[in-house]
């Protein structure tokens, strides 16, 4: 059975329609009743603003879009890391993105009042303006990218194409930075502590600026398209770098490109929402069980499935203890775990536990 362009496009469109359906359904669910008729009335006049319209346009819609962006990025990055590390246990955080972003955001929270921080932030204010991201998000992003770069450099020392070195470097850097995070948390004040803890648990933040949704959505979409173009190479890389090289894949360049794109979209996701676990590990496996291991199909479908999954999880997080909101990371693990087990049992004949 070969993958034709028609088949890829058809399945992606089908999955995309399902995703839009899920988003359209979830946008009406929440602690406040909002109806289409209310929204269609428009923003309302000067003295009597239409509350429903404001909730819909400024909270529900951007939040659902962000959840979709983050879910797509995490699931897609999970697929790619599992492929280039040839490790089914890999997730988007395995090479230090999580601890790096965590460190960046905590530094932002702890030092946001200081003069030096203010001065530096002043210099880079144009970034915040251009992207619509808050300084905390930018710091998380910078932390994530710097850490991944560090892991890549350390991993390279142990061998150009040995993924074990990369994995070990990721684990050690993650552990070291986690210790730094603990240290900073233990000297933080209570007020600062709460916002950081929420971030570490994975929490959709409402965008203050709609620009942020467009910007992050664009970056993630671009990253996913780049990774899709590497689909064939990623298939072959699953057979190891020796095989890949003898089949004509430029291993070094492909690994670097895939790694950079996956790290970039993960960093964007993490800076938007904090650490949401499970999506990047479970969704790739679930989609692989259903559609098989071909990365040309796996990448777009995982992105779409990840988006739908996180939209649903975030909706549950919004309503389950309404009007308060649960961290969405709690829901992804609670919902994702059993869901994955069902898939595992249902499709167990498709699984092959290979050796590396």
């Amino acid at each position: 059975m070969t993958l034709t362009p028609q088949k890829l496009v058809l399945r992606s469109i089908l999955a995309g329609v399902v995703l839009l359906g899920v988003m359209a359904a979830c946008v009406w669910i929440g602690s406040q009743d909002v109806s289409l008729a209310d929204v269609l009335k428009g923003p309302g006049g000067e003295g009597s603003p239409n509350i429903q319209y404001i909730i819909f346009m400024q909270e529900r819609l951007p939040r659902i879009c962000l959840a979709a962006i983050v879910g797509a990025a995490l699931a897609c990055a999970g697929v790619v890391f599992q492929a280039i590390l040839r490790n089914p246990l890999a997730d988007p955080y395995i090479l230090g993105v999580s601890s790096g972003a965590g460190l960046g955001s905590i530094v932002a929270v702890l030092f946001s009042g200081t003069v030096i921080y203010g001065r530096i932030a002043g210099h880079f204010g144009w970034i915040a303006e251009a992207t619509g991201m808050s300084s905390l998000m930018i710091m998380a992003f910078v932390g994530a990218m710097l850490t991944v770069w560090l892991v890549w450099v350390i991993g390279r020392v142990t061998g150009r194409t040995h993924v074990t070195g990369l994995l070990l470097a990721g684990v050690v850097v993650n552990a070291f930075f986690s210790a730094l995070i603990m240290f900073l948390l233990s000297i933080a004040r209570a007020r600062q502590l709460q916002s950081t803890m929420f971030w570490l648990m994975g929490h959709m933040m409402l965008p203050e600026n709609p620009l942020m949704v467009w910007f992050s959505g664009g970056v993630v979409l671009l990253g996913i398209l780049c990774l899709l173009m590497l689909g064939n190479s990623l298939n072959i890389l699953s057979f190891g770098s020796d095989d890949a090289q003898s089949l004509g894949v430029p291993v070094k360049r492909t690994c670097f490109l895939a790694f950079a794109c996956a790290a970039l979209i993960t960093s964007v996701a993490v800076s938007l929402s904090g650490l949401i676990g499970f999506v990047g590990l479970i969704v790739p496996h679930a989609v692989r069980l259903v559609v098989g291991p071909d990365h040309r199909l796996l990448i777009p479908l995982s992105a779409i499935a990840g988006a739908a999954f996180l939209v649903v999880a975030d909706t549950i997080a919004r309503v389950v203890i309404a009007p308060a909101i649960l961290p969405v990371g709690v829901i992804t693990a609670l919902v994702g775990g059993p869901f994955f087990l069902i898939l595992l049992i249902r499709y167990t004949k498709n699984i092959q536990w290979g050796s590396t």
Binding site: T2, N232, S233, G240, L247, V249, P250
Partner: protein, 264 residues
């Protein structure tokens, strides 16, 4: 026609020299066995030829072109490689696995075309693997899987085929099947085959030339009849044994201290 030429090639890891001043040429459409004790440089020889590693001295040429001067895609159109028994992490089907051989010819395309599909089908047919084309690799027996990897090498449509101990995990019947298949590739498709093996007797039966590597950077090269005599095997491998002749060809049975027919 000289297809492959090694000219005074030396290679070693750290302080340990492995190959030194290796010079030889491989005629097109020949079947070579590379034999030697562990650590004598058999796999290193293959890696030098496939361009995975660069010689520290000397040059390796294929079709009068230095292998190190080619890029990955160019090399992949000259040389294909079959490794020891191996199962990938994810469950690709036989068809998907063999289709990967077409990468070097389609690297700018994301999808395979009719020519790719035809090449894959022909390779599956030649290796007798077409019947389980849709099954995942992990669900096959070792012999079937190894035939799939040979099919992949065929679909790559390279003049040169390298194999690193392709039969080491297989039972007798499947070993013979693989050697028969390779001989068929040589005679019917004009492939040049270089195969690393520990099986001296199969090498004698099937190969035209032998490269015998010693652990001390020595090497012997020539027809199996000439190279594989018992005295040389005993000194290079450090074992004693019995050499006889079936009809035309020699065979060698290694014998140890506790063998029933122990030497001396």
């Amino acid at each position: 026609m000289r297809l492959i030429e090694f000219d005074k090639v030396s290679f070693g890891y750290e302080q340990v020299p492995i190959l030194k001043d290796l010079t030889l040429s491989v005629q097109a459409n020949s079947f070579w066995a590379i034999i030697g004790p562990n650590g004598s440089g058999k796999s290193t020889f293959l890696s030098l030829l496939s361009g995975h590693i660069k010689p520290q001295q000397g040059t390796v040429c294929v079709d009068q072109q230095m292998i190190t001067a080619m890029n990955t895609a160019q090399r992949a159109q000259k040389i294909s490689l079959v490794r020891q028994e191996f199962i990938p992490v994810f469950g690709y089907s036989v068809f998907q696995t063999v289709m990967m051989a077409r990468y070097a010819r389609q690297s700018k395309r994301l999808f395979e075309n009719a020519a790719d599909r035809e090449a894959v089908r022909a390779a599956l047919e030649a290796t007798d693997t077409l019947t389980f084309a849709e099954r995942p690799l992990g669900h096959l027996s070792g012999g079937e899987r190894q035939r799939v990897f040979i099919a992949r090498a065929l679909a790559q449509e390279t003049p040169i085929l390298l194999l690193d101990e392709p039969t080491s995990h297989l039972d007798l019947k499947h070993q013979i099947k693989i050697f028969d298949l390779l001989k068929q590739m040589q005679t019917q498709q004009g492939k040049t085959i270089l195969l690393v093996t520990h099986d001296i007797n199969l090498a004698v039966q099937y190969c035209d030339r032998v490269l015998l590597l010693g652990s001390d950077e020595t090497f012997f090269e020539g027809p199996p009849e000439q190279i594989l005599d018992s005295g040389r095997i005993e000194s290079i491998f450090g074992v004693q044994g019995y050499q006889g002749r079936i009809q035309k060809e020699k065979f060698f049975v290694p014998l140890g201290k506790f063998s029933k027919d122990r030497p001396g």
